[in-house]
Amino acid sequence: MTVEAREARQPYLLLSPAMVAVTLLLLVPLAFIVVYSFWLRTATGADQAGFFLDNWREALSDAFYRDILLNTLKIAAITTLVCAIMGYPAAYVIARSRGNKAVLLLLLMLPFWISYIIRTMSWINILGASGAINSALMWLGITDAPIQMLYNEASVILGLVHFLLPFMILNIYVSLDGIDTTLEDAACSLGATRWRTFLEVTLPLSLPGLAAGGLLAFVLGAGTYITPIVLGGPTDAMFANLVFEAIITQLNWPLGSALSLMLLAVLGALVLLYNHFLGMGQLMKGLG
């Protein structure tokens, strides 16, 4: 084999373990889900193989699914916005800090060491009727009875922000850290105020990171089902909860498959839009 041929083959050899893993763990199960979505659930709970469009017809035409999907997208959008507003200053401080950057990044990663479910449930001890905040308010005499802070849409968004904020900060940080600070110095030396320098130099250059963080926060937020179960009230279900219920509670795997593919299609379209305008490179940097 010639050197050129060997070199041409090398990338495929190096990529093959990852490609095998992606094929076996992602594409093959996805193909199963596609097939399942055309099956039917019988009255006993068993599946009837075949090619039926019933699940797709129901998923696409029923207003119930559309409304929950829109509500899910709304919650994910609010969460993303809150994460961006809270995450940008934090990322800026980390990127511009000198000496203690590693410590700050370590602190940012600390929440990942604790289970997401435990972190979500911890809000019950903070916001609950006998949680830390209500206990403190009643002890200080500010209120006589506990304030209802849990089991509503706001507590779901709070839980999601808690979960997703580190992803947003990391992406913005990567973007800010890559900006050549001499550009900011140049703007200042030409008479721009610090605020104007930020608005016209720093912010535009960090937008890809902000967009990457936003995309991640939105996609992960829209796909969650634990947070609404733990922190949501009766009417705060998100689309992933419908998938969970169809598959687990109703044992209707075919309908659950159609619903999960519907969510996948909506979120996939968003990723494609992002890729079209900004490219996936920035996202990969943030994830790395």
């Binding site: 709970g45 019950i124 609950g128 009417t235 419908l242 109703q250």
Partner: protein
């Protein structure tokens, strides 16, 4: 010859120049692939003689099983019991459906309707009752209903029974008020935001039947039922989905009233919480069984069931999980604590409990579970 020896011989041949590098790496790769492919399928068979998997409801129930049944059983037989948990029969059924035969062995199922569902899906086994002599201590009525479903044979042994009644915080609701209002307390506007409910569609429909004055095993006005389910939802703080969550909501006083599992309320009372419990007329009675899945190693499973039905084990577990055992009190002395447990019937006839009719509930399961899922979310 074991795999290590095979590898050592192959490596020696390679080092001695007996085979080239490409062949050596190819053989190692093929062996790895073969191991990877066969392991998931062989795991069940290899483990069969050494362990039995048991799945139950978690929390205090699992603790009682572990302490009073599994650990002593392992000590006696050398067979390990791997215990997992689930939040409900539906969730567990979904897991079993996705598994290989033999992966799941014994489940602590609730209700004859679950037994019938599992049987209808082809998941039942046939127990050799000669290997379970302690079955003679069990209340006959509990065994008979299972036999009817599986044509005279058994795929389970009855283990305990209890009720889903109403738990209430005595600081805010008196015993007299509970007696007066019964199931309708769950629709009392005065407690809006302080009411909870189990996210189980059967329980919701059962209680809506009581609230609308209908037979829980034969409602005729389903519109009224769904209206009651909606009315309850609109007063709700949240639907709970596990025993641990139920206990937390009551203990933390997030809620004042909810339906609840009798044993969990007893556990809260033991912890010193002032929580009352009552079964309204026609309250939801259920029995739980230890169901053996098709494809399980039958003899170790039967041995475990027999061990668990031994009066000393069964009584210890019952005292730990706070549900009366399936043992017939006219045949076995159940000690001092069990007669004080909620739902306990000293006659062993269980005439005071209303159980779910499996044909009625399973016949409507597909439609009602789906509709409840929508109403639960505000529709």
């Amino acid at each position: 010859m074991d795999n290590t020896k095979r590898y050592e011989r192959l490596r020696e041949r390679y080092m001695n120049g007996g085979i080239d590098r490409r062949s050596f790496l190819g053989l190692i790769g093929a062996a790895g692939l073969a191991y990877g492919v066969q392991t998931p399928f062989a795991r069940g068979a290899l483990a069969a003689a050494e362990q039995v998997r048991f799945d139950g409801w978690g929390g205090v129930v699992s603790e009682a099983f572990r302490k009073h049944a599994f650990d002593p059983y392992t000590e006696k037989t050398g067979i390990t019991v791997v215990d997992g948990t689930f939040g409900g029969g539906d969730e567990y059924l979904s897991r079993v459906k996705a598994s290989q035969p033999g992966e799941y062995n014994i489940a602590h199922l609730s209700g004859v309707f679950d037994y019938a569902r599992y049987h209808n899906l082809g998941l039942s086994s046939t127990l050799n009752e000669d290997n379970i002599p302690n079955l003679k201590y069990v209340i006959p009525k509990l065994t008979d209903v299972f036999r009817k479903v599986t044509g005279g044979t058994l795929s389970c042994v009855p283990y305990d029974y209890g009720t889903t009644g109403i738990a209430y915080n005595r600081k805010h609701i008196s015993d007299e008020e509970m007696k007066e209002k019964g199931a309708n307390i769950l629709l009392d506007e005065r407690f809006k935001g302080k009411i909870a409910g189990w996210s189980d569609w059967r329980t919701r429909i059962w209680y809506a039947s009581l609230q609308t004055g209908q037979d829980p095993n034969g409602a005729t006005d389903m519109d009224a039922i769904w209206e009651a389910v909606r009315a309850h939802r609109d007063l709700l703080l949240k639907y709970w989905s596990s025993g641990a969550e139920l206990m937390s909501l009551l203990a933390e006083e997030e809620i004042y009233v909810t339906e609840a599992w009798s044993g969990r309320v007893y556990a809260l009372q033991e912890q010193g919480h002032d929580i009352g419990y009552m079964d309204p007329p026609n309250g939801f009675g259920w029995q739980e069984c230890l169901f053996v899945m098709k494809g399980s190693p039958m003899e170790p499973c039967e041995e475990l069931l027999n061990f668990m039905l031994a009066p000393e084990t069964s009584i210890a577990v019952a005292e730990g999980q706070n549900y009366p055992p399936a043992l017939d009190p006219t045949k076995v002395d159940l000690g001092k604590k069990i007669p004080t447990l909620p739902a306990f019937d000293p006659t062993g006839k269980l005439d005071g409990l209303t159980f779910a009719d499996p044909a009625y509930w399973n016949g409507n399961e597909q439609e009602w579970s789906k509709l409840f899922g929508r109403i639960q979310k505000g529709y």
